[in-house]
Amino acid sequence: MTNDRTPMLQMKGIRKSFPGVRALKGVDFRLFPGEVHALMGENGAGKSTLIKALTGVYSVDEGTVHLDGSPIRIHSPQESQAAGISTVYQEVNLCPNLTVAENIFIGREPRKLGRIRWKEMNRAASALLADRMQLHIDVTRNLESYSVAVQQLVAIARALSISAKVLILDEPTSSLDRNEVQQLFAIMRKLKNEGLAILFVTHFLDQVYEISDRITILRNGEFVGEYMAAELPRIELVSRMIGKELHAFEEKARASSDRKAASDAPWIEAAGLGRKGAIEPFDLSISEGEVVGLAGLLGSGRTEVARLLFGADKADEGKLTFAAGGDGLRSPRHAISRGIAFCSENRKTEGIIDELTVRENIVLALQASRGWFRTISRKKQDEIADEYIKALNINPPNPEHLVKNLSGGNQQKVILARWLLTQPKLLILDEPTRGIDIGAKADIQKLVLSLSEQGMSVLFISSELEEVLRVCERIAVLRDRRIVKEIAGEDMNSHNVMQAIAGG
């Protein structure tokens, strides 16, 4: 039994408070060599905080940490790395202005007499990405020129390439597609067999059961329990996480009979819309109340489609027409005035305004559409904020909290609230469930369905095919920056979609 061995890492009675928030209230955690240990909990439960307390980003108020049997006190990520803890943090924490290769090797560059050997480094980086992640990209380009998903892969590659005793992965899979996840798991299994201790955070239950040996559950900053994965049924896990008995948690799929054919006149119609170097010209139309999904591999161009439909990028060919009359989009602002909303996949750089409060972040888009002079009164703002905090279960439920201090999933909800508030006719959701816990994910899916029933059109992009299948009435499949197929009605099943993605 693993229990008899000394844990690689042991944390006891960890407490950590931020001004106004008690994020960890005495958490215990053990990690053994040669195991994958899942840390579970709702958004804001304290998972990321526990990890940051461990790696010296935050100081702990109370509690002890033992590494390899001896007590340690880590004061900075640098020390934690030196102590053999390699970490992928939740938000991609790399330097966008450096090349991909540097991002992988910075701090550990191959050197000769103090001189960095660039050629060797680039070669090693290329090899590493190709071998481990099946990612064939130009490693001498700056990281910022790649999508979030690629950045995530690079961050993982960096962590993997650090030979360490402990590997921590905080939601590494949130923006990866199925293939990438499988590759990652293969690597994790290999490392596990080599005796590495792996801490893994995710909101995907399937993934938890697929890869992990042991599960620790946190709720509201409190330690709930530690379980062997094999001995903890799913339903049990979920109810422990949310602290309530739960029956049929599995979401109801949209009954196939619900699916109306997209026969209505399209509300928005793109004809030959394209942008050089980003997406080939495509045709796409969305009717009122319709939920259209975009499926495809990483980098297949889904985000680009969304950005063109929102006017975030300018199309250099083709036409965009609206049923209500008029065509083309000059700017995001123009799109918003036409009733389009866009929830970006990249919440850190394109979503939240991190110095502002939750309330301000929520009302921002609505206020922007009203102009600076027609203000929403403070009272009204408070009401709105409270309403959405409640509706989306944003935690902590304090509208005056700075958004940057929210947990990742809660930030995502804030952005969602911002767009729902504008009551758009077309809501573009690019990876809206990224980093969202299982309960909230189901809520969001339900929300999408109910919105569409009220007549809102939705363009739904997600790397989780099941999710796309569940909420959408029609799916456009992209491959190599081109829409290759539209699937609707009876044909809509995972097999057909996969085949289209693969190019069958």
Binding site: P19, K52, G56, V57, Y58, S59, H75, S76, P77, F310, A312, S331, P332, R333, I336, S337, F342, S344, T349, E350, G351, I352, I353, D354, E355, L356, T357, E360, L364, A365, Q367, A368, S369, R370, G371, W372, F373, T375, I376, L402, N405, R418
Partner: protein, 354 residues
């Protein structure tokens, strides 16, 4: 019960972003009071109040104005180095117009001069805004252009000479008094009130902070970042222009080369002391006000105490350093707990938002 309430109040006060700047200002004034007990004495002289405190407000007025404009620019992640030059140009323009007129003291002429000067300042601000926002040039270099050329323009206007006026009406703006107080104080109060109202009672303040914090996310949220940036630079130009009028009318003359020299540095300093970060985002107009008053009080103190000019700068250096050390949470903690937590750089200081 009462006890805890009071400590709570103390804590809340200490968390307020104005606490430390105000504390510093208080300390400076207290020092003056101890040094010369009649520092605060205000006498009535010839129908207006006369005293050190009044002087601080009067001479500090131009700096406060420039700093108000600068605050908004800095909130958009920008910086405006050209304010000093705009100060000089506005003063030169007004004085030239008046000196060219027949009757220097005619109200119409003075109004025209003031209007012309302010219009010119706004245009210069627009130029800065267009370079920054339209052409996408880095603010520091975009405004450097006008900083260099602007002084030339000011001297071109004055022909390199100092234009001296004898226009009591114009002099009133910077040296006259209304209801026993210097008129410049009313100008400052008006501009400050307008700036505060427009930014805090409408959504403009939020837009400015949002653009300064994350321009791309703001654009995607539908904010017209470009117009906001341009408007802010125009406002900053206007503030500098008003400051230029105050300065030149205070001495009844326009000095193209020296008016507003190094004002940009003092203004930025005032903004930073007031708690606004040069990285953009949250801004604090009241903080700026206090910051500017600290700077002006410091100069007055230096003159009053009789610090020799050779060591003035050293004194200034230490005061500036002291001000920012005191404001630094990390420093206070270090004093309190002997640096217990110094090595957790991930912990950013608590937001000083109220």
């Amino acid at each position: 019960m009462n006890q805890t309430n009071r400590t709570n109040l103390m804590n809340r006060m200490r968390k307020h972003h104005l606490f430390w700047p105000l504390a510093v200002l208080g300390a400076l004034l207290l020092f003056n009071l101890i040094y010369s007990p009649d520092f605060f004495s205000v006498k009535m002289r010839g129908g207006h109040l006369y005293g050190n405190v009044i002087d601080i407000l009067n001479f500090g007025a131009p700096l406060i104005l420039v700093a108000i404009g600068m605050t908004l620019v800095i909130a958009t992640k920008g910086i405006d180095l050209s304010v000093g030059s705009i100060v000089a140009i506005a003063g030169a323009m007004a004085c030239l117009t008046i000196s060219k007129g027949g009757d220097q003291n005619s109200l119409g002429l003075v109004l025209i001069a003031v209007g012309l000067a302010l219009a010119l300042s706004v245009v210069l601000g627009l130029w800065n805004g267009l370079l920054v926002s339209g052409a996408g040039i880095q603010p520091i270099i975009a405004t450097l252009i006008l900083m260099v050329a602007g002084r030339g323009i000011a001297q071109l206007i004055t022909d390199g000479q100092i234009i001296t006026l004898s226009s009591p009406k114009y002099e009133f703006i910077g040296a006259g008094s209304l209801a026993t107080l210097p008129f410049s104080i009313f100008v400052v109060v008006a501009v400050f009130a307008i700036a505060a109202l427009v930014t805090r009672k409408t959504a403009l303040g939020m837009f400015i902070e949002s653009v300064g914090c994350n321009p791309e996310a703001s654009r995607l949220a539908g904010i017209r970042s470009k117009y906001i940036v341009i408007a802010v630079y125009m406002f900053c130009g206007l503030c500098a222009g008003i400051a230029g009028l105050l300065l030149s009318s205070n001495i009844s003359s326009a000095d193209g080369n020296n008016a507003g020299l190094w004002y940009e540095l003092d203004a930025i300093l005032a903004v930073v002391i007031g708690g606004t970060s040069l990285n953009g985002g949250r801004f604090y107009l009241t903080g700026t006000l206090v910051g500017a008053l600290i700077i002006q009080t410091l100069s007055t103190t230096i003159y009053t105490v009789g610090i020799p000019p050779e060591v003035t700068l050293v004194v200034k250096a230490f005061v500036v350093l002291a001000v920012c050390l005191i404001q630094s949470e990390a420093f206070r903690k270090a004093l309190a707990y002997r640096w217990k937590t110094r090595r957790y750089p991930g912990e950013k200081e608590v937001a000083r938002h109220v």
